[in-house]
Symmetry: C2
Subunit: 332 residues, 2 copies
């Protein structure tokens, strides 16, 4: 059995989408056993089975707007997120999924689940949409405002092993996000990262990728520091949302537009889905001793289901163990 801890209360919509997503995962994978931490009466409402699912009472929740995640993790021992993280630490479960506040999950992962001793940094790594529908891994999306070339390098290896196990591609292409395609572009740290990345034989180095090619380049993994990665991810989200609003505005602005929309209703829904984070999965926290997956805060049950599916793949394929093995070889 693969045992996964679930933060039953995290996210903007609380236990409903979490429990429904969890039930969907249990239905699809019969090797799965889930531990839901949260307010039992609130979670129970949505429960239709008790098979392979355990509810554990947690009396508090870390708020989505929490501004001091370190203090929250340290003080709220009875928070659903903290209890779920502790279950991983104690070996009750092998990984965790939460839709709670990202920084609290990063800090909590760091303090409770702990970093792999072979890793110097952890990173937030969402799967982002791509034109070819395959999806890519972007990192670091905000765990570290700065990363040294050697951190970029070890995180690229982590990402490559995850990509191999998720997308069944042996030597994934790693691209360095930069302000020009040619070698020699960027800041001092980007030049140094470029030189280091091209020495690896655990992935294929694609070279620099300009930000306008992030969604369309052939690179499977796009790597940069946490400041830049966060800016890229948020700019994609903001642009997609704004374009969606403008499209809606323009369609509604005329009678023929509205008629047209009736005809292409299904097309527009598919269009929306292709940029919808919930169809893709959660953001992974790389570098920890166990899989920690962040489902989107505005997750629906599909998103939450996908995040659980991700955690299961992570555990089943022993991604963390594989990374450890590779990093140990390198550091010999």
């Amino acid at each position: 059995m693969i045992k996964i801890a679930i933060d039953g209360m995290g996210g903007d919509y609380g236990p409903e989408v979490v429990v429904k997503g969890a039930l969907e995962a249990l239905k699809n994978f019969n090797d799965l056993e889930l531990y839901l931490y949260g307010d039992i009466p609130k979670m129970e409402k949505y429960l239709t089975t008790k098979e392979r699912i355990t509810l554990i009472q947690a009396d508090s929740v870390i708020a989505m707007g929490e501004t001091n995640p370190i203090r929250a993790i340290r003080n709220q021992k009875d928070a659903s997120l903290v209890m779920a993280l502790n279950s991983v630490k104690e070996g009750v479960t092998e990984g965790i999924v939460s839709a709670g506040p990202t920084q609290a999950l990063v800090v909590g992962g760091h303090l409770i689940v702990k970093k792999l001793p072979e890793m110097q940094r952890i990173a937030i790594a969402p799967i982002i949409p791509s034109l070819d529908k395959k999806g890519k891994i972007l990192l670091d999306a905000g765990a570290n405002v700065e990363l040294k070339p050697e951190h970029i390098y070890e995180l690229a290896i982590f990402a490559a092993i995850v990509f191999q196990n998720y997308f069944q591609k042996q030597r994934p292409l790693v691209g360095l996000i930069n302000i020009g395609e040619e070698k020699g572009k960027g800041r001092a740290q980007d030049l140094a990262s470029y030189e280091l990345l091209k020495t690896s034989n655990h992935f294929q180095f694609y070279g620099n990728v300009e930000a306008d090619k992030v969604l369309t380049s052939e690179a499977d993994i796009l790597i940069t520091d946490g400041f830049t990665g966060n800016v890229v991810l948020k700019t994609i989200e903001g642009t997609a949302k704004t374009m969606g609003l403008i499209l809606k505005e323009e369609i509604k602005s005329s009678f023929f537009g509205k008629i047209g929309a009736l005809f292409m209703n299904k097309n527009l829904t598919r269009f929306k889905k292709r940029f919808d984070a919930s169809e893709i999965g959660g953001a992974m926290i790389f570098g920890l001793k166990a899989p920690v997956i962040k489902a989107h805060g505005s997750s629906n049950e599909v998103a939450f289901y996908n995040a659980i599916r991700q955690a299961r793949t992570f555990i089943k394929n022993q991604v963390v163990e594989k990374v450890e093995r590779v990093l140990k070889e390198i550091n010999v």
Copy 2:
């Protein structure tokens, strides 16, 4: 008369869109006189009048893919871009518009037109679209990979004065692009920029703006270093383009989609236009002794016309002189 130098050969489409855009500008502004540098026979083909327009022969062109812009600017004295820049230096004209390669224009502006002595850095400042249709100024979009807080500060003043003169708003809102809205977010340089920006009385400091709000926040000016600004700009472009492709793919994927598109043809055109750089204008190079405007390389004649209109406003409102005055006051 306002005299503007035009690089007649720059850009992906060469003299046709340049000459047509120039003619349109002359038609709309009778205080305008244009000097077109380029291959006279090639430019003449599209000329319908000789009033207030002078053609000057330039025997070479700096290629769009030029990888060594410094060398190109130094060696190609007969290039249309170099001759146009020299006309500004010599006082024949008061500003320049080119659709040629950005880095060559930045380097050429620096070497030939020269930096204002009061400015420590120059910056690339495009006008970007916004949900409210007003447009915003983004900088630095790539002139400097790194900028110190004091550079950010003087560039914010430059941007504020430009914004006042373009958009008739007395105290524009300046936002610092960052990875969180709260004070205390970002890298060391972002924290220092935050503290410095809030001391100015030449603009109103809006605080941090996360990248997902770049197109929708109330800030009129969005400032950051040239690495981050370039990443933001390119990510917006790439996401918009990819979403456009996906929308087209999904519409074409079914019969009803195609029918729907016929009904909403005009709506889709307006949608496209609202994210179209050509409707907004060129990128300004801030910090030089005279207005230098970069029209998009893939400019159509509307884009080129808009870039000329921008240069005219810049000159007519004496933006450079106003910036000098303010910076002198500050440095006393």
